[in-house]
């Protein structure tokens, strides 16, 4: 896979507490040299990123209830509506992780269905189950619920964590190609990226995409 082909399978962006407007501008200025699939920012920089992305083919991704997932469904939906108003193309929404850890999958289904309904096909709903803290059973159960709710994609981790290729292989064995898998968490090298893609990931996420490509 050459550099351009690899870039098309990478979603990048800049997210976090201490990011300044200048940080976003300079990170993006470097990133736009490659045809990355998407660019993710926190909601405070969503309008700015929309402007910056105008002359590229990258999709704009809005981080919702990111990264801990502790916001109520009402707040998540408020954030989805904001992302819609800015005309972002995707959301990365962290699920109610405490509900998953409590076995309350109906609460998870409730938020999945509500987000899909509000998105109404105008924005892709990509959810973050935070695989890093889930058991295999919790991973499969959560994916079952998102399929039922009509969610099209998952991003494996948002907050820390190290993506495991075995997780991706497991999901592919159980669910086939029914939804898109975006591998995320600690992917820093071309070797790691290739491992995830070979395991069946559709995309990989990394904020250090430029360093990764320099090596390709």
């Amino acid at each position: 896979m050459n550099r351009t082909e690899l870039a098309k399978r990478i979603k990048t962006g800049i997210l976090g507490t201490d990011i300044t407007e200048e940080d976003v501008r300079s990170h993006f200025a470097a990133a736009k040299a490659y045809p990355f699939a998407a660019y993710a920012v926190d909601l405070s920089y969503l309008r700015l990123a929309k402007e910056l992305l105008r002359e590229t083919d990258m999709l704009l991704t809005a981080a919702v209830s990111y990264p801990l997932g502790g916001m109520t469904l009402a707040t998540k939906l408020d954030q989805v509506r904001f992302a819609l108003s800015v005309e972002a193309e995707e959301i990365n929404a962290t699920l109610n992780l405490n509900a998953i850890k409590s076995g309350d999958y109906d609460a998870v289904s409730g938020e999945l269905r509500a987000m899909v309904e509000v998105a109404d096909g105008a924005i892709d709903v990509i959810v973050i189950p935070q695989f890093d803290i889930l058991t295999s059973f919790e991973k499969l159960k959560t994916c079952e619920r998102l399929l039922e709710a009509g969610v099209c994609a998952i991003k494996t981790d948002g907050h820390g964590g190290l993506c495991q290729p075995e997780d991706i292989r497991l999901l592919r064995r159980v669910f086939g190609a029914t939804f898109s898998i975006e591998a995320s968490g600690g992917i820093r090298t071309v070797a790691q990226a290739s491992e995830m893609l070979d395991a069946g990931a559709n995309f990989i996420h990394t904020s250090t995409a430029l360093d990764l490509l320099r090596e390709a």
Partner: protein
Amino acid sequence: MTDSSRLVDPTQIDHTELRTLATYNDIRRLCFEATRCGFGVVAIHPIHCTRAAAWLRGSGVGIAAVVGFSTGAFTIEGKAFEARDAIERGATEIDFVINVGALRGGRHQLVLDEMRTLREAAQGHTVKAIIETSVLIDEEKRLACELAVDAGLDYVETSTGFASGGATAEDVRLLHEVGGGAIEVKASGGIRDAQTALAMIEAGASRLGTSTGVQIAQPMASMSDDLDREETE
């Protein structure tokens, strides 16, 4: 010097549970402990406000909901919505993360506007501004504290506990000095024993955010608790 035989006043403790792997049962236990120990509030994610309000009914323990947590990188309107929503669900205090990136980038008016908007959205409830000291230089900490005073907030709070570092006695002292009595200081992040807790209070903190409040405020109670657990296991 801290005197380790002294105890922390339990009403100064914000009994905290914000982990991604927490269960409803952890929140129930948190509420139970807060009631038993007489803590001021439980500090939780908004998803738990309704549940916690039911478990705390009649206890006198309040609920501090975190807003814009943990990055603070949300819109002003979004944080105001979240704060109002949390209060409707039973929150009695709002601990919001300021737009740290805006502060660092020199967009101070935005930070002040956000603080004023949250002051308004909280409808008279206590508002704490979390400034995430570990990613700021002293000048930025000072500035954030001055803006919080300007906006009429109740507390300036050091940390979320999810960034590179937590509260330090030096930071608490700095904020206390800059605040000059016009704002209180909450120390949070990395406070895990009575000695650290007392050092924060000596430095000028009047509230402590910690998940180990039981051990800090009532070391004997926590020991008997451990014994109970050993017996049932």
